[in-house]
Amino acid sequence: MPETYAHPEVLVTSAWVLDHKSDPKVRIVESDEDVLLYEMGHVPGAVKIDWQGDLQDQLIRDYIGADKFAQICSRCGIAPDTTVVFYGDKSNWWACYAFWAFKLFGHADCRIINGGRKLWVDRNLPLTKEVPHYPATDYKVGESGEKRIRAFRDDVFEHLKAKKPLLDVRSPKEFTGEMLHMEDYPQEGSLRGGHIPGAKSVPWSRAVNDDGTFKSASELKAIYEKEIGLKSTDDVIAYCRIGERSSLTWFVLTYLLGYPNVRNYDGSWCEWGNLVRVPIAKGA
């Protein structure tokens, strides 16, 4: 019998989405890297939440506060008991980031459309330019998930000293320090190249198939457990450049493989590679 995901209910299919298109307890959310894609056509009934414009504070480098989050949910017609289903471009990279941010604010039921925007478009499923409007909700922010799923630089330092597993999910050249930023992406200002000592390199993209869907449970275990040597009981921190790619890895380890102790270090290399006197390793 094939192995199943630890929490298979967090991944939904396009058929499930179409079946629930009029379900008032379900809200579909598109989150993309390219901010124009939603306007060019989106899943009918979907609202747009932008990781940058909506979820990040515009002044300090942090996420928005609980009040602002409640306003966004209210605007999108999301109540605390709404099932929020994310999808987006780049193999759901930004959808996972938005999912993680919703978990920071303790939203209970979050899911991902397996295959994301690409698979939806490739299958010629319906798209619309109509922007839906839902009645505003009175959203009360739940218990913060920050402690469980977010790591700050001091946490990473402790982790490093305790020799606990750190995953670097950037591209191989970023890991070795040959390159300061993601290949083909603009340089985002790190003064040093390399990785956090002891971190293992597992590029995020290894967790997804070419069609944008996630790899099977047994394929994922072969990578993270057989090859990298992680155990489900490990306390794991994942990082990348600004915490977006590592939120996909966080999603995979937490929900598809069922690891209860995984945190995303969203400061990531853009913070670590600029800190004074922190240890850095170079090379493979």
Binding site: E33, D34, V35, L36, L37, Q52, D89, D184, P186
Partner: protein, 151 residues
Amino acid sequence: MPLKLNELIEELREADRQERIELLIDLAKSLRPLPARLEALKDSTHRVEECQSPVFLFVEPADGVLEIHADAPIEAPTVRGFVSLLVEGLSGGTIEEILSVPDDLVDRAGLVEILGMLRVRGLTGVLRRVKREATKAEIGRSEGSGKSAIG
């Protein structure tokens, strides 16, 4: 800055947020396809490395001006829209006109407001690349080898 580009930038600047998004999408849709001879030359030397999406750029000298051709995927409408803006606004301009385009063009067009700081860096990279390729094409022309595409 060439008149045509100036007009497009003004139009974007005066638009509200939603109209800007629609203008960029229209630009993305109206980018004309590469001529077949250039389609065959889409290789790493013509790729704009600053962009995460595959963007290809060709600047060719023609009758005292520079012709710009470019290609970018429709799945990345933001960058395709910006590339289209540059092609539309700058193709047929002189080297002086192209080099006179201000480096904060993206900001002037009001795009930072809709795209956010992180996304506009790639776009600024496209403009830098256009200027660099235009300079190379102009040098190629003055050295008397103006008949081939330089990129």
